[in-house]
């Protein structure tokens, strides 16, 4: 019955997959997005909405286009001349490729966290202050307040409050990743993109990151790319399954992991020979 309550998530040209977000409205509206590296197609005609203040996971095998799609959301592909794109991505109604869009501002609004923690070679405090200083915030008191808030939001404050001026490299991998999240949160983004944020971490650090993701959705929209299906099942509200650059199925996570609509999704999430 639940399978029938939301319309098709299958990638069919001209009939965009729609998920019934019920209470949530959309943050990103992606329409007919195609992307190619050097004429080699990486994403084919994707249409989907990413709901606001929810966690959306992109899953799929290596090379399915999930990271490519994530990177498209804050125009990271702009740096690569070989990438061609058609279709449109709107953030809160605004086309992110419009001429008037300031890319630096877009990337402030749409923060990104990568697989390997990449703290800057400076103190914990300075890591979080970095983006704020770039924004012209200089007053120490204001910096202190925002840095405390960001580290609290990233669930790191209690572990580092007594040695804020120690090098970021003294932190463990899990702490470094939370520091990177704090650095991203400090500039008050609307969206946090997470590309395999826990794949280099031990299970306990992974659970801390997952707990953090869950806690953050009241403040912002999160989009997660992961190879770990159990992680997608644990933390996300919606899951999109991509395969060969196509959006195969997009559904509420509860539905996708208990009763997927399509055989291809079933085969992937249950580890069958596809």
């Amino acid at each position: 019955m639940s399978a029938a309550s939301f319309p098709s998530g299958e990638a069919v040209r001209g009939s965009p997959p729609v998920v019934d977000f019920s209470s949530a409205s959309s943050c990103f509206d992606i329409e007919n997005l195609s992307l190619a590296y050097d004429d080699k197609p990486a994403l084919s005609d994707l249409t989907l909405k990413v709901p606001r203040h929810r966690v959306t996971a992109f899953i799929g095998p290596s090379g399915c286009g999930k990271s490519t799609l994530l990177r498209a959301l804050n125009r990271l592909h702009d740096l690569n001349d070989q990438v061609t794109r058609t279709g449109r991505i709107r953030l809160e109604g605004q086309d992110i490729h419009a001429r008037e869009v300031d890319v630096a501002e877009l990337r402030r609004r749409v923060g990104m966290v990568f697989q390997a923690p990449n703290p800057f070679p400076m103190s914990i405090y300075e890591n979080v202050a970095y983006g704020l200083r770039l924004q012209g915030i200089r007053r120490k008191r204001e910096l202190d307040e925002i840095i405390e808030w960001a580290l609290l939001s990233a669930a790191l404050w209690d572990e580092v409050k007594t040695n804020l001026h120690a090098s970021a490299w003294t932190l463990s991998g899990g702490q470094q990743q939370r520091l990177v999240i704090a650095r991203t949160l400090a500039v008050r983004p609307d969206v946090l993109l997470l590309d395999e944020p826990a794949s280099a971490l031990d299970p306990i650090s992974t659970l801390k990151i997952e707990e953090l993701i869950r806690g953050l959705k009241s403040q912002l929209t999160l989009v997660l790319v992961t190879h770990n299906m159990q992680q997608a099942a644990r933390v996300s509200d919606y899951t999109a399954f991509l395969h060969g650059g196509e959006l195969v199925e997009y559904a509420p996570t509860d539905t996708l992991f208990t009763n997927p609509r399509l055989r291809r999704t079933e085969d992937y999430i249950t580890g069958r020979v596809g």
Partner: protein, 239 residues
């Protein structure tokens, strides 16, 4: 997505295929034993065979042991494999099914216990015809529900669900006439109460067969149809 009984044998991990296959095999073995228990208990009564009735009572431990063993296996699969989609539904359906089968075993035990009392009383009681009819009816339901499970056959499962109402009617009619006999002949009250307990146990076997059929639909279609009217199901299952 509908699945078939081949679906669970196509994992990249062959070990996982075997584990799931094993669950199905064990469930079917338990189903077979329970079905036999009901059959033996009723035959013991109808043929006045107290030895068979005693054997049914002894076998109840075997049914309980099978439930524990299958549940343990399910727990292990959940912990080690973290199954999703149809794999998860299979494990859940098996857990639910073993619980129903164990209770069918309890009903068989109850029938055997009352059969022994009736045999000992040595009086020919009213209601044997009703017991024979109802037992044939519910045993067919149980057999069909187990076949539906083995074949992932939702059509057959739906047939079982449709049978429940007529079992209930049969049971109500039988008890009503037995109440009349009790009023006519108060000396027969003790034996007729035993007969009514047996009829009630058989009616419960029908209810558990019904539950098994619902588990089959959940397993194959991913639809939880418990507490749904069978009439509505025809429509939602497209049959």
């Amino acid at each position: 997505m509908d699945i078939t009984n081949e679906t669970h044998s196509q994992h990249i991990s062959r070990q996982f295929n075997q584990e799931l296959e094993q669950l199905k095999t064990q469930l079917m073995a338990m189903g077979g034993l329970v079905e036999k228990q009901v059959q033996d208990a009723v035959e013991a009564l109808l043929e006045g065979d107290s030895r068979t009735a005693e054997r049914v009572r002894d076998n109840d431990t075997a049914v309980n042991d099978m439930q524990l063993k299958i549940d343990e296996e399910c727990t292990r699969v959940l912990a080690r494999r973290q199954p999703a989609a149809s794999d998860l539904r299979l494990v859940l359906a098996v857990i639910r099914a073993t619980s129903d089968l164990e209770r069918v075993g309890d009903e068989a035990n109850k029938i055997a216990r009352n059969a022994l009392a009736l045999i000992e009383a040595g009086r020919h009681s009213r209601g044997m015809v009703e017991i024979r009819h109802l037992s044939e009816h519910v045993r067919k339901m149980l057999r069909d529900a187990l076949t539906a499970f083995a074949r992932f056959d939702t059509r057959l499962a739906l047939d079982v669900l449709h049978e429940d109402e007529s079992v209930d009617n049969e049971y109500t009619t039988a008890t009503r006439s037995l109440v009349t006999f009790m009023m006519e002949d108060p000396r027969a009250i003790t034996t007729i109460l035993s007969v009514m307990t047996i009829l009630r146990a058989l009616e419960r076997v029908g209810d558990h067969a019904d539950n098994l059929a619902e588990h089959v639909i959940y397993l194959v279609k991913g639809l939880d149809v418990r507490h749904t009217d069978p009439g509505e199901l025809d429509e939602s299952l497209g049959q």
